[in-house]
């Protein structure tokens, strides 16, 4: 769990998203629809983006889970966070954690911006600054920054 081994009991019917929020106290991941439609609850499960409302907590047993809480390094925001901040890519911020995880995945894998935008609903921004941030973040030149 964000680089640390965590143990917590879960009811078989509890979704991963709810488990993260309640048993593990990680409330950064938000549940927008609980039906896999909106993307707000996206987390990375063994590196792949999933809607945490559609995955049962027990399915994540032994897996590597990454959430929005893992993206900043101390006081420094991560690249996806910086892009959204600088491009005004959020308003109310409720859907943002899921978007950030999909952006993070895209940057690692080279997936295009359209993959990120296609899986996410935002009701506030009209995708103006949001699209600019995702495109900037997923651009080939931007990824070069990540090379050590």
């Amino acid at each position: 769990m964000n680089g640390t081994a965590r143990t917590a009991r879960a009811e078989p019917r509890t979704s991963l998203g709810e488990h993260l929020r309640t048993a593990l106290g990680l409330t950064g991941t938000h549940l927008g629809c609980e039906q896999g439609d909106c993307g707000a609850c996206a987390v990375l499960l063994d590196g792949e983006p999933v809607c945490s409302c559609l995955v049962l907590a027990v399915q994540a047993d032994g897996c590597r889970v990454e959430t929005v809480e893992s993206l900043a390094r101390g006081d420094d925001l991560g690249p996806a966070q910086r892009a959204l901040l600088e491009e005004h890519g959020l308003q109310c911020g409720f859907c943002t954690p899921g978007l950030l995880m999909r952006m993070t995945h895209a940057r690692r894998t080279g997936a295009p911006a359209s993959d990120v935008l296609g899986g996410h609903l935002c009701r506030c921004t009209g995708y103006g600054g949001l699209r600019a941030a995702v495109e900037r973040h997923c651009a080939v030149e931007a990824r070069k920054e990540d090379q050590p």
Partner: protein
């Protein structure tokens, strides 16, 4: 005189870093580990009589803590009072204790259990029997002879009627003499606000002091507090409502809903904390919705293109009952029907009808999206029938800056703006599209005027609305030199906290980060009935804050002069841009020396340096701002669309906006508001529609698959421009912009579709323009698709 340093800068909203770190504090994120959870028991049918409510089996479940049914609710609560009635309206409250249900999803009672899943399990054990009654699923069905009657207080299912503007007989005369009359019936569908964060609250009752504290996802904590006090029979000073982060609202979180009141009742009955967060199905089927009207409207034009008369006969769908503001949006449609044009005669008639659908409340645009759609479509149709350029026809009839202040036939007084300049600017930038093959392309521009900064208390009183229109702020320089703004308006993702900080910083002449802004807590925020709705937060709270800052700055300079023993006029505040409030470099300078900002603040709170006879010590200013008038923003939008005649799919390919919102405090926030509004407008124009079964009135739009929100692919890049005519109606010259982006898109897109396919222009009078409807219109007009499709 305020020097603008921060006002006008694109400052990123100050809460964004925390939100980006996952440190938001939305209701469901708040740490209340001991809270018990609610599941609301809802009617499965749209109309029926509750004949039994048996909770025996539920109460036997060890996880069950409380069940409340209609009898308990009747004993323990009063109804929610309404604030805005039609002149003859007899339905004047929202019932909480329900023996007749009037929409599918209406709350009947609730269950409290140890956790959310347990509450849902236990809810299934409650035996609620509802004997179905015939339901009406539309205003047409509700008004039909022999329709089932929903309320004793609404004969023929008509809740109330009114008329604004030129009397009907004079309107009829004007139409009788006209060269051209364009008459159409318009349909604007019901929509769902669908904020990504649904409604929710945590209510805590402390039985000792008898205090109810409610953390809620709301736009209007003070209004919710007043309504809760009335419903639960509590003193106003024993109810506190707190809104932390709110995940979108758009008008859907302005008023207390019945289910929310029941959750608070459960807390009072049980003691301690009770929590409820609605799920998406509940949000789509039980939360108040927006829009919903059928309107017959006509426009009279002289042979030379002058507009002679305009009349809209609005039939609005209130749903199961009138909510707090009830027919407000319908009345605003009638009041704003004239828009930016001059009319010798114009008016709007409103008939508010109840149906067995979800109640309708405020939604971004509040009746003005509807009036703009009706008027702009009529104007475009008049241009088509006259064979003249639609932009030229609009310009011919526009209210010009020299006409200001301009009074409309319905009695609105426009304060300022250059409506023609906005339309010309938009028209210049809209590129004429090219059409080829099975895809037709067209473009159009429309114009609108937006009521904002609602409203002078005297005007609200004139409309007999039970709200206050003023806005208050409390501006404090703390003993350590930091600055705190308390305001009654609320932050719902629109960035108001940042704009207010910019205004306070400039008003006092201090760096931006010295200022903290605290909103949303009725224990500390100045009273506000309307808070952040009606495009008013910046206009009114910003106006109050400028005045508060000017007064506080004058007081601080006076104290500094006495501390330095020099005349006030000789004191200069000298603050380098990047220092902290405690810095020795942030100083007042006089001929005799310097005193630091922090030292002066500290001494001021001790009561030092004040002139003899002055009792006031606290370094804070409370200012209430009751505006002299509504201020009217305005704008013009342009759209370029592609219509696929094979499929009926309409794609918005380009979009342009020009708005005049007076002085812009934060262009980044302003652009975000416009673009976000345009996206909601595109959804309404093309696909968003809350649908119900036409016979049973039961909901068909229960997930985001049946109620799709605009996705990134649906919204093109939006070109945003601003003109600036400072408002004369408030100290900052501000005009509202929270709704402006959402108002014109449906009209603009429909006019662009009409330009692309003039053969169907006459029937482009209803939204959403879904592929199915556009395809049917194309075929009806004899436009066949590509041969390979039509031959099949």
């Amino acid at each position: 005189m305020t020097t603008r340093v921060h006002i006008g800068l694109p400052v990123p909203p100050r809460n964004h870093p925390a939100l980006l770190r996952g440190r938001g504090r939305f209701v469901d994120d708040l740490p209340f580990p001991g809270a018990r959870h609610v599941a609301v028991l809802r009617s499965p049918v749209a109309h029926g009589r509750v004949t039994a409510f048996d909770a025996t089996a539920a109460r036997a479940d060890p996880r069950c803590l409380l069940v409340l049914g209609p009898a308990d609710v009747a004993e323990l609560t009063d109804p929610i009072p309404l604030a805005w009635l039609l002149p003859d309206q007899r339905l004047d409250h929202v019932e909480l204790a329900v023996d007749v249900v009037r929409y599918a999803g209406q709350p009947i009672g609730l269950v409290v259990a140890t956790d959310r899943a347990a509450a849902e399990d236990v809810a299934e054990l409650v035996d609620v029997r509802v004997e179905p009654l015939p339901a009406v699923a539309s205003t047409a069905a509700a008004l039909a002879p022999g329709a089932p009657r929903l309320h004793a207080e609404a004969e023929g299912n008509v809740v109330g009627r009114t008329h604004f503007g030129t009397p009907r007989d004079r309107l009829d005369e004007a139409f009788a003499e006209a060269h051209l009359v364009v008459e159409r019936e318009f349909g604007i569908q019901r929509v769902s606000h669908s904020p990504l964060e649904p409604r929710g609250l945590v209510a805590e009752w402390e039985p000792g002091p008898g205090l109810l504290t409610v953390h809620a996802s709301t736009q209007s904590p003070h209004a919710v507090r007043q309504e809760l006090a009335a419903v639960l029979r509590l003193r106003a000073d024993r109810v506190r409502v707190v809104a932390r982060d709110v995940g979108g609202s758009f008008g859907g979180k302005v008023a207390l809903h019945a289910d929310e009141a029941l959750v608070c009742l459960a807390a009072v009955v049980l003691g301690g904390q009770v929590k409820w967060v609605e799920d998406r199905v509940e949000n789509l089927t039980a939360a108040y919705q927006g829009r919903g009207q059928r309107t017959r409207a006509r426009l009279a034009v002289a042979a030379d293109g002058r507009f002679l008369a305009l009349h809209a006969d609005v039939v609005g769908d209130l749903g199961a009952f009138a909510v707090q503001a009830g027919s407000g949006p319908l009345q605003v449609t009638a009041l704003t029907i004239e828009g930016p044009y001059r009319f010798p005669a114009a008016g709007g008639t409103v008939t508010a009808v109840c149906t067995n659908l979800v109640p309708v409340g405020a939604y971004r645009g509040y009746g003005m999206q509807e009036s703009t759609f009706i008027r702009e479509r009529l104007v475009d149709e008049a241009a088509r029938e006259l064979g003249v350029d639609p932009v030229a026809l609009r310009l011919r009839n526009m209210v010009e800056p020299g006409d200001m202040p301009y009074t409309t036939c319905t009695g609105l007084v426009y304060d300022s703006g250059d409506y023609s300049a906005a339309l010309r600017s938009a028209a210049r930038r809209v590129a004429p599209p090219s059409s080829a093959g099975p895809v037709r392309r067209g473009s159009a521009v429309t114009a609108t005027v937006e009521m904002s900064g609602f409203a002078p208390s005297a005007l609200i009183r004139q409309f007999d609305i039970a709200w206050a229109g003023w806005e208050g702020v409390r501006l404090v320089v703390n003993h350590d030199g930091t600055v705190t703004v308390h305001a009654g308006v609320t932050a719902v993702g629109q960035g108001i906290e940042t704009s207010l900080a910019q205004i306070a910083a400039d008003g006092l002449g201090v760096p931006l980060r010295w200022v903290d802004v605290r909103l949303g807590d009725t224990a500390t925020a100045p009273h506000s009935d309307l808070a952040s709705q009606a495009s008013r937060a910046l206009v009114l709270a910003g106006g109050a804050l400028l005045r508060a800052a000017a007064r506080l700055r004058a007081r601080v300079l006076g104290l500094a002069a006495r501390a330095l023993d020099v005349p006030e006029a000789d004191v200069v505040l000298d603050v380098p841009a990047d220092v902290e409030p405690g810095s020795p470099e942030a100083v007042f300078r006089g001929a005799s020396g310097v005193i630091s900002w922090r030292e002066l603040a500290h001494r001021a709170w001790r009561g030092w340096h004040r002139p003899e006879g002055v009792e006031r010590i606290r370094l804070e200013e409370n200012v209430d701002f009751d505006p002299p008038a509504i201020t009217f923003a305005h704008g013009a939008h342009g759209a370029a669309v592609a219509v696929d005649v094979d499929t009926g799919v309409v794609t918005v390919e380009d979009y342009w906006t020009v708005h005049d919102n007076g002085v812009l405090v934060n262009p980044l926030v302003a652009e975000g508001q416009v673009v976000g509004g345009v996206a909601q407008g595109i959804g309404l124009a093309l696909f968003e529609e809350v649908r119900h079964d036409p016979d049973t009135a039961e909901p068909l739009s229960t997930t985001f698959r049946e109620y799709p929100l605009p996705a990134a692919r649906d919204v093109p890049r939006v070109d945003v421009r601003h003109l600036c005519t400072p408002s004369p109606a408030n100290p900052g010259g501000f005009k509202g912009l929270g709704e402006g982006g959402a108002i014109p898109p449906a009209a603009t897109i429909a006019c662009a579709v009409a330009a692309a396919v003039p053969e169907i222009a006459e029937v482009l009078t209803a939204t959403p323009m879904t592929p199915e409807r556009v395809w049917a219109a194309l075929r009806e007009a004899g436009i066949e698709g590509s041969p390979q499709w039509t031959e099949r």
